[in-house]
Assembly symmetry: C2
Homo-oligomer: 313 residues x 2
């Protein structure tokens, strides 16, 4: 199968490399790593065993040409570039997988490309970029898949493609529910690690006050999701996410890593869109809204978009 | 009148000095500034004109002895020391004025000393300490007074004492309402300047998202106050506080100054007690609660009580 990876950060590189390794014709759209990968290939230093790949790296999606599958692994902050970057790779039957964080991503894809070909993927993986051309895969790797129209047969095919490449997969009958359930973890933990001063998940879950706030964020998220037609068992999901986080080693979510690297945060996909979707169905989400206002401000302050006034007093 | 000032930070020193200047026998309980004031007196560098005072400074309340009025100007974080420090100054008719921030202060005083003699004072003043023995009074200076039992005659006497010393005063018929109304400013602005990354009131009120959050905090505060028997006109008060803050120069509230100096924050008096009092009457205050959890955590992180885990990932 011919596959284009649009947005070759650590997630795009890792899953693209796994698919290439098992024989697919994978073409990576690269920016930062383009020259390094052309020169020396792509290196995956993985907890499951390192491997190297002579990857097909491109600087322009027009050079990639039409493919069978586009894996879009851009950061959610780059969503406005997605159509321009994906369009040149689309043929009549090309499927598009949004392997991205947050809510509302697939909706944009559907506006551009129609609903039949749009899939969502939720990666549960600890991964980050090293020097150009190198990705560090530290733990986990599972991907959960859904289809925009919840076409289960198509989801199963997509999951099989990844499973055949040695990736742990999950089939989600409802993409919407999968997205909201993932937010039940991301909204508390990705954003509290930032607003609580740059700490790991360990400090959040071991502080009774912040744990209580994480709990409130999970409840509000689940309620908003259910008002949008999901059937989340909020109590069960809350217990599961709390106990998973408690048993995980101290973790810095990608939002915190972005913050510490002074990169733009995925605020709108993780917080802004859920707040707007909750408002649209009249579900109060005051705790999420507080996190949204604070995280959005801290993001802009952190990147110098807001400067602090001199106080005369 | 013989007056003891317990807790001689900038507020205690300033108002004590004004009262001494007009002839009262004011005795200051001091710690940091004790030696400097004994040596060189107390210097008030004030926007209304500088003055100097040969102040009576004591290191132990037992040496102060019984007085007619105790002005307690401790930080709210030192509330547990207040009884021990005030008790030696009390005679049968000694009145006690809590010139402190936050909710629940006078309740503690009443437990210790009974309700008849307890007053609350809310200072609206920009002031801070300079080198030992020096206070910088930068702007404003008004004090609003209430009595624990809302004994208006007694409030008026207290206000007259201060007014005769050249201090702008206000008489508040309901101490409880005065405290909750003051919180309608302190809860948003004292605490958002901390949780939004160390900015002034100017950045808060000029960011649409944080202004919205400040608005939500004011509504919740007013609603909790009204459930406790106040009759706050929340819409009017909100408008007034927003427009006052908009026209003020950029301001660093004392909570932010404490944070930047790595001093303990008045979290319980400004946030914890309002959250508990709201819970007691069943009024939801989710936005205040979020600020409470975050501010409390940031305070402890800032002072090294919490350390950040090494993340393996």
């Amino acid at each position: 199968m011919r596959i284009a990876v649009i947005g070759s950060g650590s997630v795009g590189c890792y899953y693209g490399a796994k698919l290439a390794q098992c024989g697919h014709d994978v073409r990576f759209l690269m920016r930062r790593d383009l020259e390094a990968v052309r020169r020396s290939g792509l290196t995956i230093k993985s907890c499951d065993g390192d491997f190297q790949l002579k990857a097909a790296a491109f600087g322009d999606p027009g050079e990639i040409g039409q493919v069978d599958l586009v894996i879009c692994a851009l950061k959610a902050t780059a969503i406005d570039d997605a159509e321009r970057l994906i369009r040149p790779c689309l043929g009549q039957h090309t499927r598009v997988l949004a392997l991205m964080n947050g809510l509302g991503i697939e909706d944009r894809f559907v506006e551009w490309f129609g609903p039949e070909r749009v899939f969502g993927g939720m990666a549960f993986v600890c991964i980050n970029r090293g020097e150009p051309g190198v990705v560090h895969h530290l733990a986990y790797g599972r991907v959960a898949f859904g289809h925009y129209l919840d076409d289960l047969k198509q989801v199963e095919e997509m999951a099989k493609l990844f499973a055949d490449a040695g990736i742990e997969t999950m089939v989600r009958p409802s993409l919407r529910q999968a997205r909201w359930e993932k937010l039940m973890w991301n909204i508390p933990f990705s954003t509290l690690t930032v607003t609580a001063g740059g700490v790991t998940t360990h400090e959040i879950i071991n502080d009774p006050g912040l744990k209580q706030m994480a709990w409130a964020l999970m409840q509000e998220t689940g309620q908003a999701g259910n008002a949008h037609g999901c059937a989340i068992d909020i109590a069960v999901m809350t217990r599961k996410m709390m106990s998973n986080t408690l048993t995980m080693p101290p973790y810095r979510p990608s939002m915190l890593i972005d913050y510490q690297n002074k990169q733009p945060l995925e605020v709108e996909a993780i917080l802004g869109e859920p707040v707007r979707q909750a408002a649209a169905v009249g579900v109060p989400v005051p705790t999420i809204e507080a996190q949204y206002r604070l995280t959005s401000f801290l993001d802009r302050l952190n990147r110098g978009e807001i400067s602090v006034s001199q106080s005369r007093w």
